[in-house]
């Protein structure tokens, strides 16, 4: 059955050797240039970075391990609430350790839920992840005295990073902060994907029966990558909480889970850099469309989604790969 998650055969050789291809510098150069070229757009830039990080975490489990989940926002939200409550209730305002705590909390939730849920697949897994995420959201609402419930968690006041770089109105410091965190997370993701462990995930995705047959510990591997992805999603959530100094129940919501799924497929699943393109396009598209028509912008987003599925099955990076392959063939 034709799939939006094709074996990233073209991508793996480039990333597989842990040696950097020259084209990989491009997205980083673009991201690094934004504070100089578009200094008024750094708030939007922060949104893009958080979404890239979140989408990266989903790509690890969706694009590489083939786990389809509609509840990934639960992990993002756990990280967000962990970082938020750490500051608001415990008065611990140091940002970097805040992110570590966020990642750890999300990893814990990911480990426990993954251990139970990853024995299932298909529609059952989809619904289980969705229902679990909603249950977590309900829990957060029940604990409203701690989480702030629907109205949100107030009182988050993050200290300046290293005592110097505060969260200013133009978001300059936090953009750079987010970019560094993204880079670090990306290095980890890249390492995993290029390793034998990462290869075995692709194997599980492609032919799980065979993996069982050769004695690979399928469930253990899946739980491992799910936990790592959960930690990454939690860090993204923590970053979100620190940038906005505000967390509501929406951070665990079904709509966010859907959005990050869209981002990964839009950019191209199983390609890591697909998360960059998908996140940038989705966030910027939504932003521009909402300015154009505050009432009907959803139509535009839906249209892009439909068009992507109909004409760009492997996402935009897939198109890019086809294009380079086609150009390559044309050269003598």
């Amino acid at each position: 059955m034709a799939s939006a998650i094709e074996p990233a055969a073209a991508a793996v050789p480039r990333l597989g050797r842990a040696r950097w291809h020259w084209a990989e510098a491009l997205p980083w150069l673009v991201l690094a240039a934004v504070p100089f070229v578009l200094p008024g757009y750094l708030a939007l830039g922060c949104q893009v970075i958080v979404m890239i990080l979140f989408a990266l975490s989903l790509d690890l489990i969706l694009g590489y391990a083939g786990i389809i989940t509609l509840g990934h926002a639960a992990l993002f939200g756990t990280g967000a609430y962990a970082a938020g409550m750490l500051s608001a209730h415990l008065g611990w305002n140091e940002p970097i350790t805040g992110l570590v705590v966020a990642g750890a909390a999300a990893a814990a939730v990911g480990f426990v839920s993954g251990w139970f849920l990853l024995r299932y697949h298909g529609l059952a897994l989809l619904m289980l992840t969705l229902a679990t995420a909603i249950l977590l959201q309900e829990l957060a609402n029940t604990l409203a005295p701690y989480t702030g419930g629907y109205d949100g968690l107030l009182g988050i006041a993050i200290d300046p990073i290293f005592g110097r770089f505060a969260n200013d109105l133009f978001r300059q410091n936090y953009y750079v902060y987010g970019l560094i965190v993204l880079f670090a997370a990306f290095m980890v993701a890249r390492r995993i994907v290029a390793s034998p462990f990462g290869q075995s995930l692709v194997g599980i995705r492609e032919n799980v029966k065979r993996m069982h047959a050769i004695g690979a510990p399928v469930h253990g591997r899946l739980v491992a990558i799910y936990t790592i992805a959960a930690a990454m999603a939690g860090v993204a959530g923590g970053l979100f909480a620190q940038i906005h100094a505000f967390v509501t129940l929406q951070v665990m919501g079904f709509q966010l889970s859907g959005a990050v799924l869209i981002v990964v497929v839009l950019g191209g699943a199983g390609r890591l850099y697909g998360a960059f393109i998908g996140a940038a396009i989705y966030v910027i598209l939504e932003d521009q469309l909402a300015k154009l028509s505050p009432e009907f912008w959803e139509f535009g987003v839906g249209l892009v989604l439909v068009a992507t599925v109909m004409f760009a099955r492997r996402g935009l990076l897939g198109i890019a790969e086809d294009l380079t392959a086609w150009l390559g063939r044309r050269a003598p």
Binding site: S3, L123, L128, V265, F296, E298, V304, L305
Partner: protein
Amino acid sequence: MLSAAVSILFDGLAYAMILFIIAVGLSITMGLLNFVNLAHGVFAMAGGYATVTMMRAWEVPFLAALPIAFVVVGAASIVFERLLYAPLYRRSELDQVLMTIGFVFMAIAAFTYFWGPNPLGIEVPRYLKGQVDLGLREFPAYRLFMIAVGFGMILALWLVFERTLLGARIRAAVDNRRMAQSLGIDVGRLFTLTFAVGGGLAAVGGGLAVELIGLRPIFAIQYLVLFLIVVAVGGLGSIWGAFLAALLLGIIDTAGKYVWPAGGGFFIYAITVAALLIKPEGLYGKRD
């Protein structure tokens, strides 16, 4: 005590009927066509808007508006199916999920454009208002009506699927498509028909739901999770599965709200997780 139990049972049954009527179409299309149609809520919503428009603009009586909505939305879904869904049958579930979610977004914006963002309601006929005395106690008339429609529907569907040639053909196509085709059954035509019926049923459910939960353009996405749960817990492609799942979820949700209101949505989702952990293919689903 007994009175409370009877209340809960009755209320839960009525709520379950709404879930069933809307979700059964989704179960049929997902099971028979192997197609993940997250835009199913749009058909339900369209039925709601059709009903409201007919009653307000043309003063069509409620009981006539529902079957008309069935036909209109059913016919419209044929167009949808032929043009937009048929190319996706061979694609992966993820593709189908994303494409249909895209449709939902477009539909919400479109309905907002034509009907405005305001919630809309209807005035049901006098004989469906108030309470009906059934001897031991009184029951709200509209909910009795819904229970009647729900039971009538499952009976009709069962008859068609188990007792008619058409139903036999559909079941054959589900069990083994190639074999059915080799026997000369026009599978494509069957699928279109099934899809139309599924969409029409959703429309009726949507029309019935207006009185209970109102109507707004975001209906399609707001209640989507509930329909998916009924289908997943019941098992794909099973009418009885959808019925039992709706009953289970409806009654437990209602009982939970009566006994522990602060629990909120907890019960429905907890039951879903429990049911799927035990029987991931659903109550009446096929194990693969």
